[in-house]
């Protein structure tokens, strides 16, 4: 347990970078917004 810093989310975004991603995720804008692109709020479907 750290004294000064608490990790809330332990991310690993770069892990898929070498493979280039599978592409199975939704189109970003199609699902609910249609105007304000927010790629990061989708889920990975794998």
């Amino acid at each position: 347990m750290n004294k000064h810093i608490q990790t809330i989310i332990k991310g690993n975004l770069s892990a898929a970078a070498p493979q280039g991603g599978c592409g199975a995720c939704q189109a970003s804008c199609q699902s609910a917004c249609k105007t304000s692109c927010t790629v990061g709020n989708q889920v990975c479907v794998k």
């Binding site: 608490q6 809330i8 770069s14 105007t35 790629v39 709020n41 990975c44």
Partner: protein, 470 residues
Amino acid sequence: MIWETYAFAKNIHLYRHGGLNLVYDVNSGSLHLLDAKSYRWLEDMIKSGAENRAAAGGDLTAAERGEITREFDQLAREGTLFSPEAELPPPYPETETPLLKAVCLHLAHDCDLACRYCFAGTGAFGGERGLMPLATGKRALDFALARGGARATLEADFFGGEPLLNTAVMRALVAYGRDAAAALGKRINFTLTTNALRLDDDLLEWLDLEKIGLVLSIDGRPAVHDRMRPLRGGGGSYAAVLPAVLNVARRRAAASPYALGAYYYARGTYTRYNTDFDRDVLHLADLGVGRLSVEPVVGGGGLALREEDLPALYASYDRLGEAYLAYAADGRPFSFFHFNAGLDAGPCLPKRLKGCGAGLEYAAVAPNGDIYPCHQFVGRSEWRMGSVYDEPAPPPPEIARQFAGAHINAKKACQSCWCRFVCGGGCHAANVDMAGDLREVYDLGCRLQRKRFEVAAYIRAREALAGSAA
């Protein structure tokens, strides 16, 4: 120590919100909560500049510096703080034809509302009013399935104008699309974006049966909605659409907040006339509408958001974040699309680099079969990408290369922005309309995006703290 040379501004975001000290690590997607001393030291290092960093945190004791240094080092070794920038290849190599994953079918270039902020010119998209014939819809689905190559799933959205002016064609296309996809060993996930004016029980039964996702347009409080979304014949549409929205909310109360399966979202637009849009979100939440997405208008002439509106908009997001937590604590949770920050199970970095995929993985088809990069570009002849009636099927034209080159590594503003992997470079259409070029960004939209993410990450931190205290 890595921070002696680290590019802080583009790779971490340090901020205070709601009494918490937070740091977001851009390249790993990690989020940390800092105590006052570690926050102050990091803030001091960022402000100091590379040559003076060794002197940062001078008010800390030697023991404190040692403790914090060890914790920073540990997180750096784990790759969750001060993480390195990944080597990312171009998202769309020139040697590959991108596979289409989503198509937007403009079933109707007409509408029964006359919304004041409509980017489609109340449905006509700058052209003639008309409906998509069934034959054109079938060609569009065939085109999209073929261009999807080995991709197992196609997303197809029924859009307009108002697509329910063409309901018979929509029903027929779902049946056709299911068969056409199955023959190729694929499936289609259909969605419908509608103003809900014609969403009756019979249609809802069918939409549930077919597991069709729904995006329902409603802006919030009656006066706000009616001011912006009048009927074509005059008068507000709130009273006419609300029953259907509530009906869907009841039927789909357990729908995924991540727009998966037979989901729904009530989707509103805010303008400079309701910079207190948090009240619109909560109005709908209080009515039991649990999946909400209220978003900034893009363009909109006199309704357009301006620099001077930002403080009120920021305050609205701040209040909404606190209300989001309070409603959840009170057993009345709702989801707000832009607070779904995908922090735990979000998309991978290559997807974030690609952005929305318009013009490459996503296309829109007008009622006459013309193909465009996305629904926002429909009707603009300079962005036409061919037709579903072209024989043979058109390859991606030069326009597609323009979109392929408009990724965040190619946008100067994005290269130094800590929020680049959240928005993926923003909306191409907004960038073209408001900044004049695919490789420029709509700055006001960026600033709202950054604010939304700050609140979203704060909410995640508060949820984690509440969970650990329970």
